[in-house]
């Protein structure tokens, strides 16, 4: 039984970079195998424009967002259908978040933040389907999202406020002696933002999916008592559904916080 489970994974198990747990006996499901990026149509190496499983699920996420917003609101009914009310709820939710956290003048950037939220939420949710691939578990994907927010916000801050943007690092409410030390700390914490912003999303999604796979391995090893890990998987799956939404929410709300810093840099 255990052999059947690894039969699929064994072919690309060797490809998995830094596969540390190889050769151990007992657990035969490799929890990190689900994160291997591999080409969809061929066996060759992955190049710049190779269509991979990551590409497929990213495209599906975009398609899902488009379906929700374009097809869902096609009727423009006064009494909304179910899909339309989901689209309206999502719109109102993000709109209120931008207005509350970043202020009224940040609403110019609402389309970008809405795009981020829906894209991350959809790719997190689609990744919870069985046999799917989770694009947001790849640091490469989340780093693009996180660093684009960072660069956009920094450029915006300098364009809108000029050199006053540097006031973000000069804490004018602190005693004068402390200000240079605080400036160094503020500078470090500013440049660390995109790293924590992107690794938070990737780490949460990756850890959640790895835990699901580890418990699936327990179910294979326990035989008759496998109903215990299966019940646990059901619970963890519900938790992962919550995490998928909360991580999209946290990513967007932090984008709003960074945007607020760029629009009003006074400390």
């Amino acid at each position: 039984m255990a052999d059947k489970a690894t039969g699929e994974g064994a072919s690309h198990a060797a490809e998995a970079a830094g596969h540390a747990a190889e050769g151990g006996s007992g657990l035969n499901i490799h929890p990190m195998d689900q994160f291997v990026v591999e080409p969809l149509f061929s066996d060759g190496p992955v190049h710049m424009f190779t269509v991979t499983n990551s590409t497929l699920w990213l495209a599906l996420a975009v398609l899902g967002v488009a379906l929700l917003l374009v097809v869902g609101t096609r009727g423009r009914a006064v009494v909304p259908s179910r899909v339309q009310s989901v689209a309206e709820l999502a719109y109102g939710f993000v709109h209120k978040m931008v207005e509350d956290v970043a202020g009224k003048d940040a609403l110019k950037f609402f389309p970008y933040i809405m795009t981020l939220f829906l894209f991350i939420a959809f790719s997190n949710m689609l990744a919870l389907l069985p046999m799917s691939f989770s694009p947001t578990s790849q640091i490469a994907v989340t780093a693009v999202l996180g660093f684009s927010v960072f660069i956009a916000v920094t450029v915006l801050g300098f364009v809108l406020n000029g050199s006053k943007f540097l006031g973000l690092f000069w804490v004018s409410s602190a005693p004068l002696v402390l200000r240079p030390i605080l400036a160094v700390i503020e500078l470090i914490s500013y440049f660390v933002r995109p790293v924590s912003h992107s690794v938070r999303l990737a780490g949460n999604i990756m850890a959640g999916h790895a835990v699901l796979k580890v418990f699936a391995g327990f179910a294979g090893a326990l035989g008759l008592f496998s109903f215990i890990p299966i019940l646990a998987i059901t619970g963890i799956y519900a938790l992962e559904l919550l995490v998928a939404f909360i991580q999209a929410y946290v990513f967007t709300i932090l984008t709003c916080v960074y945007l607020k810093d760029a629009l009003h840099p006074s400390h």
Partner: protein
């Protein structure tokens, strides 16, 4: 069992970095618990503060993420 002493140190270091995740868990629990104790005293003001709650959780979590990053670097990059 095979491998050299450098691998041993690498894995021990990665394991030690995992302690940071536990410390971040304490921090996140602190934020959420304090929010709840405040929210139960004044439930009408709680709804407007959920955004602050999540921002606080995110900042508390950030340093746990760095320990996770250190563990990842030790396992795969060093």
């Amino acid at each position: 069992m095979e491998g050299d002493i450098a691998n041993l140190g690498q894995y021990i270091g990665a394991g030690l970095a995992g302690i940071g995740s536990g410390a971040a868990a304490i921090g996140v629990g602190n934020v959420a618990g304090n929010f709840l104790s405040g929210a139960l005293r004044n439930p009408s003001a709680a709804a407007g503060q959920t955004a602050t709650l999540f921002i606080g959780i995110a900042f508390a979590e950030a340093l746990g993420i760095f320990s996770f990053l250190v563990a990842l670097l030790l396992m795969f990059a060093v």
